[in-house]
Symmetry: D4
Subunit: 250 residues, 8 copies
């Protein structure tokens, strides 16, 4: 509830144009509507200047279509993550205008013009980390950033990282995506001057414990100023990166 | 090794002022010196515009004094974290100019003038989280940011958070410090427009497992764009916050 | 074995109407019968005034049908949880009168009249938590409570919770269902005056560890008086809520 | 912020006795005061009819005395938990009227008359669980309940539990306190008709993992309707029990 | 290598009937033969008077058939565990004389006469624990014990256990099989005079962590003298029980 | 409550010598007395023919002395475990007749004559496992078994185990005590014909996690019929061993 | 980047045959090429004298074929691990010359002549560990070692290990592959004079936790000098073994 | 028992100089002696050409002195690890000739001449890892290797590692010692041609979990052929390194 609206409301009460009882009621009328299974808050997108987001995992086809349609009708942009190709194939006809990125398991419906501000580098360690890296890259794209991708530059062959470092360091924010032992975050964090957000991936086997090894490595990084998001959470890293970019180019 | 220096070196080789063998040697002469137990890299501070940092935990008194003295002699600023009052009392005479902040268990030696840029809000949940919050606050201070503190605004009495929200939201970066269930990060993340960096603390008992409960909560935050640092790592959060501030006010 | 029956038996022994040997035998005749794979205790339902419950997971179709039939023949009410639609489709013909709630994966056979007493609010954080919330809601319903549902009111958009708070607070018991970081339990616990029972759900990914993150958060809640049940245990929360309601309206 | 006060404020605005700007300001004046390290909310106690609570662990002597004094000055009752005898000995002179219960590591300052409503049974498994049981018992006492204690009735000698069962079952709420394998909660939960709140304790060794074994046992209890609080959290169990009692005798 | 054979060999060397070199060679000829993928030791069965055992899980159909055939050819008895019905259906024609127990997922080929000695009670908590209980029961049977089964006597309805206790206590060894919180082991351990071996099962959900909750409960049992085997290891419990029985009736 | 006493009581009721009401009362008079902090059950010792046991850890000096004195007054034997030398020094004057075994951290007061039956071998891997091995050895001794000790025979020098194997195998029950990787249990279990009870110890460092590595190794032993007790639980292993011995020599 | 090449380049700069700017550019031209999803470093194989390796798990068919083809075109040898038979069946036509080892789930394309140096013994505990043992054996083979296999020699029948010990000890490096409790590593480590590399396997059930039990056992081995690789990482063990062999026969 | 001795014994039996019974006895006379609390095997050192080792942690002063004296009397060399300065101060007078290295918490008694063969590089990440690095370095020294130390070359300033790489790569075996996220092992493993043994240290805080983060990182290293020892196990790494060196320079 914006302060301005509250102020205006109070002034209307003071001016006698609105009664106290009406004001009390209006204070309860919040800008979202109830669809039983999900409250859609159309103002959030406006407030933050980013698309509405649906996390598809754990939702039924009908729920995804229902929430999407409501958003599209309201004219807001839409980003739907964790939607695998099989599910998208089933629902794509019900969501006109949806663009699907299979390697990132997400689709978007863009109805408004985006002005891109800020440059995000998505740096990933191995070929197997690509899906998470792509989720990060496309999310940053739809959240209004320029995105550069640097794949397969893990520390087992550290010269590969150094060979593209001049390009990477130009980014406003660097997202590091790595599974296994996640050492790439520390190496990048040690030489970067931009904010570094690291994403552990569930890639690995045995004692990688589905990404826990990489997660712990990143949390314990000896390189200063590296922050971390959840395992495989390319979306979250890109979200945070876009918030930083908006601050820089505000 | 800066590209410019390399370029210049190659030009000197090209110009015959330096032989190939000398060049090869110089490429190995990196700007740090060996004290046997710690390599001090005086250029890092210059490169990043932040103080040199010593992590005191696990180091002997002699090691702390030795590294500190070397840095002070070089004229760089110095921030020494995880130095409890007992240790500081033993070494303070050997480190002239050191300012100690007992609630944050850190000391600093500032020899250069700082121009503060960027505003960091340090928001903490309970009285017991104060030490970590203070580590974050003083680190952000010594890394060149303006700092505002908002203590004891945990979600068990959520009106306390809302009552100071107008002040908190003015910050360029918000650091959330919380132990126990760490829910404050999600609530702040849900309403903030600035980047949010969350620090789980080891405050709690029983199944808090020394901060693991708060750490997991923050990693799994339903609020978009919240990033996380290690348990009790107020320093790391402030480091990351200052890097973002430097980007914003570059 | 009720004290009254024991007392009566002892009086019959004292009165010579029952021999000591007979009494010893009768003391062993307990009110359940043996079906080889499950002892059905028909008196428990009467004792507590709630339906008999079958936990279907891990049981074969035949076992579910067998236990159900025996209970139905005895005239008691029956609630069968963790019965997914596929299993129910196979067995529904063998259990006449069964009403299935697919979103809650449970069915019930009600043969006795229920007088509803007490009001339970089931408050859930996200659309993905709906299944567990519905298990709680229908269980509370079949255990004799009035139930109100409040879905998708997680803390990422905390105004949504506040907008229906006036309704939620009317409940005698509040059940909070949340996955991911489970912060909703702390926020509700901080403002509620009724007992709050929290149910962590396995919703989430990465470091949510199948609900462990939410479970730990709820156990460590900074809000006083919040109790917790097992991950995804909507049934258990509703059971506890109904026991409290029966105490209130005894 | 109570609705009545808001309503009244809005009416004053409508009546011209308060300007819109003043109203906006007052809406920010919330009923707690800032002591820098802890926001004391004197209205919470009034709202819930229970003492203000200080969790002493992790606070300095000065902080405990400071918060206590403020509360005492305001005339509210005070319960301070996790205050071991050594700390209390240092601060008792600064907190006149404090009554210390060493076995429970808590002290209280009672300034108002309590009318006791509701009966809580605190049932503990072994002699070593006594401290947690006493924390629960004294908390329930200071929160306004009648309390009965049943110690050393663990399942290794199950006849001891049965011998006092007639007394236990009279309680409105039963708190079960057990370490090691925590089986007592399941046995009590299987025969009780009152709400059962279980408290795992950190008593045990080896693979008890500081109470985790008991915690998991209680969360997985096969007895319906048992809820759980954090390890060693006697306070939390009693808090929840008193909330239920207040509902029953409202 | 039996001492007698060694002694005899040495005597033959002493008597000049065997040279030192031959003796050295023979000492290397151990009584098992190499099938490339599994060394079959036909003497073990004779030594211990129990069937040879194949653990089928992780072996291919061909491996199971191959090892079984070799054993059958040698005239020893055979017990093959962890062989689910689907696998047995594929291989049963290749293993004449095999008797399959589907509820226990094991089959046996008995070629020698067994004299049963010792009585083992297999006591299980819930219907869902039946498979593990049956593995224990049939293993004990094929290892030469009399077996009594007591199912569905978990502590949630503790009178069910007590009603068959007179029968249970007659056993030489009691095997307790329980999932969820595993409390049955402590209750039985508290009243039994015979050795108690407990088997945690993977039955449960949420924080049962596939049997870890029950395992920890059993390891931490407050009842003296309870020993534990691996999760779901009905076979191991029965093996240990039969070893004890052989000692008793040696 | 023995059946005979119950039978006799019922006969007295039948014979009119006891009224029904009196009988009901007597049924509640169980053979233990309440000392507030611990219910002492003097009949247990008689029932099982073993000493009463006090687990001292977590009890105050006064509690240990109090419980001990009561037991001694009743003429039963007493074994007090987990009593370190410092505590024993403080209380030994209050417990006349107590014999302390410092390496096992236990003391005993023996007032009755013991006839030893059964032979227990306590086999330990390293010098550091001695304390736990001694707890097992002395417990088995005071529970009426003959005990042989075999120390420092871990698998790193496996010939040391084999050199004393002829002696070990004579035991009725073998207790294996090992920390670190706990491999000794598997090696002994693979060659033993007697029941093997294994005790993981907390000896080790790093990833031994206080005995978890050894515990898991023992639970997963590839040797059939090995059972396990809790980490460092020498007492429990000896208890179980003595129960088996009593069965063998009943 | 080899020092020689750098030296030569610098000399060319010194000789005026290469300008400084050109040198700077060339320093960036590293010997790998970008295929978008994987950087192939053809020099690594030459540098180390081992095949290029593809870890197939997590890669699409197209990615495996694409990377393989590029390597084959370059004339280097190729080893592709974690390629199950189903995947290989789909891609084998696209990779001419590939030899598949189904039991090891790997294929190789050998285009250069190998001179075998060094002898590696692969010792495995049970039939179920064969797949991992074969991955180790074939990897060592393709990395240029002679390989001997010793299967099913686990400690449950320790004479089986001793019977082939004379052969095992001839190896330059011994790889021990074991699941369950992993005790084989300690026994072998205790008697071996060659380096021992142990591989825990995920074979086991219940509390083996997918190989964690064996991993911890091996890390905590009481036998000196045993090193460990990740769970099921037969490849890694063989890689390390071949590196040692190359050192020995350099 | 060496084969030669066995052969000779058998020949003596064949020659009639030794009876079969005597031979049987002698076969049991193994070359170690029993000191009750530790079996000292003096031949092991001779067999392997390395000092006898005592792991002091968990042993009493008397035990350390006793074992040491026995070894010294036998003329073998001795290395005693995990002996902190406080303990050494208490026992040094009883162990003449002992040389203590406080930073490595170990002492040695060298009575025989060592010929050093093989070069081991001990590379450590941070100043706080020094103790473990020194344990590795001194162990390798006393096991007969040349040792080079490279301290404080962690990946946060990766140029420091590269600046001494030319020296490091000369080693026959590289030991990498690192705490926190342990990334140094992967970076070194990616560029090294010698065997790399990594030692995770318990250095770190929060989610480093006493070295688990570094351990998991090293086990999951994306660099081929890196092996791992237990947390803080500098001794074990050096032991393995010396075994490899002996193989190389055999």
């Amino acid at each position: 509830m914006e302060e301005n609206r509250l102020k205006k409301l109070l002034e209307e009460v003071a001016g006698g144009r609105v009664t106290a009882a009406e004001a009390l009621d209006r204070l309860r009328t919040l800008p979202f509507e109830d669809m039983h299974y999900a409250k859609v808050d159309h103002h959030r997108a406006l407030r933050r200047g980013i698309p509405e987001v649906i996390f598809c995992q754990g939702k039924t086809d009908d729920q995804i279509v229902g929430i999407s349609s409501r958003m599209i009708d309201q004219g807001v942009d839409l980003l739907a993550t964790r939607c695998d190709p099989v599910i998208f194939a089933r629902i794509e006809k019900s969501i006109p205008g949806a663009v699907f990125h299979s390697e990132a398991s997400l689709f978007a419906v863009i109805q408004n013009k985006t002005v891109r501000k800020g440059r995000v580098a998505v740096v990933s360690a191995g070929t197997s980390d690509l899906n998470v890296a792509e989720e990060a890259a496309w999310t940053a794209h739809y959240f209004g950033c320029e995105v550069d991708r640097f794949n397969d530059v893990g520390v087992a062959g550290i010269h590969r990282l150094f060979s593209c470092w001049e390009e990477i360091r130009k980014a406003d924010v660097i997202i590091v995506v790595a599974g296994m032992e996640g050492a790439l975050a520390s190496v990048v964090g040690g030489i970067a001057e931009s904010p570094v957000i690291s994403v552990p991936t569930s890639i690995g086997y045995g004692a990688s414990f589905g990404g826990v090894a990489a997660l712990l490595a990143m949390l314990n990084s000896c390189a200063g100023g590296v922050t971390v998001v959840n395992i495989d959470n390319g979306f979250g890293a890109a979200y945070a990166a876009s918030v930083i970019c908006k601050k820089i180019y505000r």
